[in-house]
């Protein structure tokens, strides 16, 4: 256990992913939901960079880089939509957002 191997990083990534999934499933506030999504993306990033490091391959870091770019633009658009929704309906509680029922 003295040496930090790839396994440690993968386990860490797993735990973070689990936390992210719990957040996604549990949270009823749209903004909190976005937070949980960020956690998911970050856990994957850690796994990618770790593998890249331990196997001497740049592909992992490239992937992580693009994921960060995508996450950023996703936040921008998502927040814009959230603001519009709030302006219209004055609530961002998921339980009240059942327009797509059926």
């Amino acid at each position: 256990m003295m040496e930090i191997t790839l396994t440690h990083y993968l386990v860490l990534s797993t735990v973070l992913f689990m936390i992210g999934l719990i957040g996604v499933m549990r949270r009823k506030n749209l903004l909190m939901l976005f937070f949980a999504t960020e956690i998911l993306l970050n856990s994957v990033n850690i796994a990618l960079v770790a593998i890249s490091h331990f196997y001497g391959d740049f592909t992992g870091q490239m992937f992580a880089f693009f994921i960060i770019a995508i996450a950023a633009s996703e936040v921008a658009v998502g927040l814009g939509l959230l603001v519009l929704w709030f302006k219209r309906f004055n609530t961002i509680d998921l339980d009240n957002m059942t327009q797509m029922k059926g």
Binding site: V24, M25, R27, M100, K101
Partner: protein, 649 residues
Amino acid sequence: MEMFLYIALFAPLVGSLTAGLFGASKKTLFAGVFASGMLFASFISSLLLLIQVLQGNTYHVEMMTWIATGDFYVPFGFVVNSVTITMMMVVTTVSTVVHVYAIGYMDHDKAFNRFFAYLSAFVFSMMILVMSDNLLGLFIGWEGVGVCSWLLIGFWYHKESATWAANEAFIMNRIADLAMLVGIFTLYWNMGTISYDGIFAQVAIADHDMLVVAAGFLFVGAMGKSAQFPLHTWLADAMEGPTPVSALIHAATMVTAGVYLVVRMNPLYDLVPEVGYIIASLGAFVAMFAASMALVNRDMKRIIAYSTLSQLGYMFVAAGLGAYWVALFHLMAHAFFKALLFLGAGNVMHAMSDELDPFKMGGLQKVMPYTFWMMTLASIALAGLFPFAGFFSKDLILEVAFVEHHYILYTVLLITAGLTAFYSFRLAFLIFLGEERYKLFGFHPHEAYKYMIVAMSPLLILAIIAGFLFKGTYYEMVTGAITGILPSLEYHVHNHTVYWIMTIGTQLFVIAAIVYAYKKYIDAKIDKKVEEGFFYQLLFNQYYIPKIYDEVFSKPYAELSKMCWKLDNAVVDATVDGIAGVFYGTAKKTHTMQDGNLSSMLKWMVAGLVTMLIFAALVVSGDTIYVILQTYVAPVLEAVVGMIKSIGH
């Protein structure tokens, strides 16, 4: 020369398709004229081919391959030999005349174009039947004429009786076709080929019983087409169709297809004389049977239909006794005068606004002289008086029966000849001579159009001269050394005295019958007592056979169909509806999955993700996961179990 073969074969098809283009339009004279023109081209081609055959050439072409699977090879092949060319001439001559006649007859009909399409299609099918060089090609033509007959009998399909008659004809034909197919299968199974040449080559060495079976089944098929007992009821009912149809199909061509089949397969039937004798006996029976029903009938076209049936019996007697050329000759002569009779009846019907009861007519000679002479001369030919065509063909059959020592058959045929003369002239006298009864019923008859009379005249001429002019040439052609394919049996009554007694006696008997008919029907008196008598009723109702068929076959079958329909509803429909119901129920239950709540949908998403991951993990890296489980999970589990055990102590 092959070009003429193809013209003769396909010109009717071209005419049919062209007329069919106008099928849904109003009457266009072009359709009728074009179809008739195509038929005339076919006639000319057949004539040219006839000249060639008379000079000793036969033609055998293979147009293209039809079936070539394994050992089974069937081409679209056509052959023109002496028998074929005889049939071709008969078919094309009568068809051309009928087409031109029909232009006038169907003048006021709305479905004028459709009629010519069907009629020409029929001629095309008949040509295929006649010209084919193998049994399957014949069967195609056989079915084709059956279908066209159905289309034409039920031409006025708004009439319930017409559609019923068409269905009856087609279904009866189908039943017989089943037997014919069995016959064809038997031949193929045992001989490995269904072309005429192939069969005839092997027929001498084939097993006798197999030949009996094959010949028998083929004849049953012929029975359906030629309306022999017991498959005869459709022919009389087929008179529901327009008169040109009756003239063409039910006098000259389709019903003779059965006789043609027997004549064509003569090497086969020569080897099984017992089947031939059965055929002859059945033919004689039908001849008498039909003639008896025609004696009392009050429907003009039905009388002529029964007359056809009776003459078909004659042909089968000849064919059954091995006198194939005689049968074919009678076929040819009969076609001419019977078609002429039907067309004349058509004229009368047209004049009398489709009235069929001869008792309502009378004295039409004054108004329709041409028709009168045509029908009378045709009736004389039918009765078999010298020197008209009927004498040379019908009396020849009587001679055949006598010479072959089948005296019972001879007697039956002789009596039938008398009956034939009687009812033919009964019809003629009732319609044309005597008082003008039609005036009481308010009819205003007039003669047919001039061109219709002109169209009928070739038939008249042929009916008169076909006997003495053609017999020699014909005999030489079909039985002679070069082109003959029928056995050349000459039938001579050796004793000259007997011969002359027979011939003159027959003629006197026939003339006596005519005179009797004249005396009886010139006043058109209806004898009430006779009418209520048992025999009259029996004959008038066609021996109640149609009723029997209805009770024994039609009604139970209808009940069976109803039962099957119920079964179909309960089982098949229920199954299909059940399957649909399962889907519908599943959908209703899983409908709650889509409640529009993002949170629950995310949970579903993760659940789906888990499912797919399990799948992928097992498929992709199952073995490695197993290793992982072994190296990491197993020790942990063992440790946990150990701990629980130690706690337990």
